[in-house]
Amino acid sequence: MSTIESSRARAVADLTEGRILASVEIAAPPERVFRALTSAEIVDWWERPGVFDTKEWSGDVRVGGRWRASGQVRGQPYALEGEFLEVDPPRKLVHTWQRVGAPGQPTIVTYLLEALEGGTRITLRHEGFVAREQCTGAYIGWETSFERLAALIAGDRANRRASA
């Protein structure tokens, strides 16, 4: 039987729409989860050992307020910033997201929190990745494996050959 504790975090990229969809179920009430999304507690979870590590986060959590984060990714410093667009605890949070100093439109992060029996489901949408202005920011450091992608493209090509 599947339980909240045994469920796993998942994230998928929708390439042609230029967005990420992610979800996770957590055995903690929405109020508790919301606090983790809107406080310096972020430094404890915007983290993946050896890949990226957020060291600082500060934010003025109200509509129109701004947030800022900094840390390291693969040994290189980075800084992010954004503005809160919607703050509706403990159900919904929307903020912009941009690398400090990067040109172009920021991307937008939307968290939806849904109370479950014994926990919370977070559904995240991170969108706006295909705007042309952002291509200059495309060389942001959070690059990881191209292997998955290579497999995807190999699959597409194989399909094309098969259908040709």
Partner: protein
């Protein structure tokens, strides 16, 4: 072509919803401009303009068959978009996994 320029063309190409739909349509199989214009209920010049942008980004290739020009999709240039977005995908997956561990006290 410089990598940045090529990437710029790809982003511009897929920023438009009609062009994304054309790519999706071509994924199902090659088609000529007339067939695409009929599918999308747009004029042939409008479709040709979209195809030109897609061709410039190398997302679409064309082949002359008799008097027809047939278009097919080439997903390879999407690599520059995918490489970028994949970093964010991995970021959220890892972060949510960490958040879950933290809040469940493990």
């Amino acid at each position: 072509m410089h990598r940045a320029q090529a990437s710029d063309d790809v982003f511009r190409a897929i920023a438009d919803p009609t062009r994304r739909a054309i790519l999706d349509r071509l994924r199902a199989g090659p088609a000529n401009a007339g067939a695409l214009a009929a599918d999308f209920r747009q004029s042939r010049p409008a479709i040709s303009k979209h195809l030109r942008v897609l061709r410039q980004a190398r997302l679409v290739t064309d082949r002359r068959i008799g008097r027809e020009r047939v278009y097919a999709v080439d997903p390879l240039p999407l690599q520059s978009v995918a490489g970028w977005i994949e970093g964010y995908r991995a970021f959220w997956q890892a972060s949510f996994a960490r958040l879950k561990r933290n809040l469940e006290g493990k």
